[in-house]
């Protein structure tokens, strides 16, 4: 198969997946991953095996996706959320503890547990933002809180990933120097590079698109050659651009690239899944999903109540945070190259977390499809006696009005 033919077939497969899931009323992300699983090397109809085209698309997809996340989920956005979001984010950190504890119990070792904890902690901003939009939940008060917590998680993850990235370098002093060099360059760019960046971003049309593509790819790959995780570098670049006054223009001019990048990324996740070996890791992935979902529901509800949401809104906040995605996969990808983790654990981490992400996205899209009914029902069970009394009064008032 020629590369161009492959590209055409991938585009067709993704289009059909989006069309089919749209007809079925489920999230297109499930469709992209599902078609990847089916048509991948380990799938039922192995049309696509690992090739340069797929490799290129997957890398491009990941970098663009994280660049956009940096653009959207940045420090100014976090500060906008205020104290309520900060508290919700701090309570949400309990999920990191649960994740690390799970890793310890499963015998993954210290480093393995740290990577697993981080992968299980972080909800997927990409998936959740998409589901919230698809399901028309954007105006709910808990959506604002959820997206605020996602910004918190993503920023926490940049710190954690930076730390884990440094750790994976191991004892090599030269690589250590490289990572330090990249971080120093970033700080200098952030501090002094603004006027130059503003001038670059004032371009229009295709000039801007091409410039951004070049920036994203070259900066991330430059970071990679210095030993810094490329995905985190793309995220950090997005954060710098988000402070530009041309942020809106950057967003709109790359909007379709963003959508395609996300589709390709999730398609690639599906490609890496081997259906034949699924039975070995699936039980563990399911167990992780059950435990972390329960922990997420409890912490999400508490965080919602503490930050001033209603009982229903707090349940909704917890439900919204279920899907895991891109960052979890970046983390296990990083773990796969970490020398201090035993190879067996590395492999188990990668396979288990891949399935875990797929299951959580499927669960998430089921939850989002029944969001109103479930948040309403569970909110009813969990509301305070005060709210219960008020609801009864309101009911009585309505009855009285009907009699008139």
């Amino acid at each position: 198969m020629t590369p161009a033919l492959q590209l055409g077939l991938i585009a067709l497969a993704l289009y059909l997946a989006a069309w089919g899931t749209n007809k079925l009323g489920i999230s297109s992300i499930v469709g992209f991953m599902g078609i990847g699983v089916l048509l991948g090397p380990g799938g039922i109809l192995p049309v696509f095996s690992g090739s340069d085209v797929i490799h290129l698309l997957a890398e491009l997809g990941l970098l663009l996706l994280l660049f956009f996340m940096g653009l959207e989920f940045s420090i100014p956005r976090f500060l906008e959320g205020g104290r309520a979001t900060l508290w919700a984010g701090v309570i949400d950190l309990a999920n990191l503890v649960v994740g690390v504890a799970l890793g310890g119990l499963l015998g993954f070792g210290w480093w393995g547990a740290a990577f697993l904890g981080a992968a299980l902690y972080i909800s997927s901003s990409g998936v959740i933002a998409k589901l919230v939009t698809e399901r028309n939940l954007v105006a709910y008060p808990e959506t604002e809180r959820t997206l605020g917590v996602l910004v918190f998680e993503d920023l926490a993850m940049v710190v954690v990933l930076g730390g884990l990235g440094l750790a994976t370098v191991g004892g090599d002093a030269l690589q250590f120097l490289g990572v330090g060099l990249f971080l120093a360059a970033y700080v200098v760019l952030h501090r002094f590079g603004r006027p130059g960046l503003e001038r670059l971003l004032s371009r229009e049309g295709e000039a801007l698109v091409l410039l951004l593509l070049a920036l994203v790819l070259l900066v991330s790959l430059g970071a990679k050659s210095l030993g810094f995780p490329e995905a985190v570098a793309a995220f950090l670049l997005g954060m710098i651009v988000s402070e530009s006054r041309f942020r809106r223009k950057v967003e709109t001019s790359l909007a379709s690239w963003h959508a395609v990048a996300a589709a390709v990324f999730f398609f690639d996740v599906g490609l890496h899944v081997d259906l034949q070996s699924a039975w070995r890791v699936l039980p563990l992935a399911l167990l992780l999903l059950v435990v972390t979902t329960l922990a997420q529901l409890v912490t999400g509800f508490v965080a919602g109540r503490v930050s001033g949401l209603s009982a229903r809104g707090s349940v909704g906040h917890a439900l919204m945070l279920i899907p895991r995605g891109e960052f979890s996969l970046v983390i296990v990808g990083l773990a796969a190259t970490a020398p201090m983790i035993v190879p067996d654990v590395r492999e188990a981490l990668y396979a288990t977390v891949s399935w875990y992400v797929i299951l959580s996205v499927v669960l998430g899209s089921i939850v989002f499809a029944r969001y109103d009914a479930w948040s309403e029902q569970m909110g009813r069970w969990l509301r305070s006696p005060e709210a219960r009394r008020r609801a009864r009064e309101r009911e009585r008032e309505l009855d009285a009005m009907r009699l008139d």
Partner: protein, 173 residues
């Protein structure tokens, strides 16, 4: 109008990372309206009832539809001066129905022969004949007794035309 009424209602603006911008406006009638603007220009409009944190209805609008809705919502405020102006313009214009008496000099003559337009300035835009109507009559249309003419022109022009049609010679204008 009191000072209070002149103040625009407050709108709370917030950013939804990865989704767009949200604008919430409390309504005087209770509850509030939230509008979310996505980067691709799509707007979603939500209606929250009083004491509810779940919207009771949502309207999705594409960019052009949102523009149209904005026009419609804004029209009573924006378009009313234009309507007033339109009435002013129409005020100088007279539209008049005149029945053609059997004794009229015009009966049996064509529209061209009558030189109605030349003599009075008014135009015949339609003729009603029994059950039928003749819009924009041709210049060779012959008037018949019992016709009703629809005239358009200024006040003076239609008045002159009426006198001409109803009998008395009245060249003017």
């Amino acid at each position: 109008m009191t000072d209070e009424e002149q103040l625009a209602p407050t709108v709370r603006e917030s950013t939804l990372p990865g989704v767009g911008k949200k604008y919430v406006m409390p309504l005087g009638s209770g509850g509030n309206v939230a509008i979310v603007v996505r980067p691709d220009g799509e707007r979603q409009m939500f209606h929250f009832l009083e004491e509810e944190d779940r919207p009771c209805d949502v309207v999705k609008l594409q960019r052009d539809e949102a523009q149209q809705v904005a026009n419609l919502l804004g029209s009573p405020m924006v378009a009313s001066p234009d309507l007033d102006k339109l009435e002013l313009v129409l005020g100088a214009l007279e539209i008049e129905w005149v029945a053609l008496p059997e004794v009229s000099d015009l009966v049996g003559h064509s529209l061209a022969d009558s030189r109605l337009r030349r003599r009075t300035g008014a135009s015949v835009v339609a003729i009603l004949r029994g059950e039928t109507a003749i819009p924009n009559p041709e210049i060779d249309t012959v008037f018949e007794a019992g016709d009703t003419l629809l005239l358009i022109g200024s006040d003076a022009q239609t008045e002159a035309a009426r006198r001409l049609i109803e009998g008395g010679e009245a060249d003017s204008a």
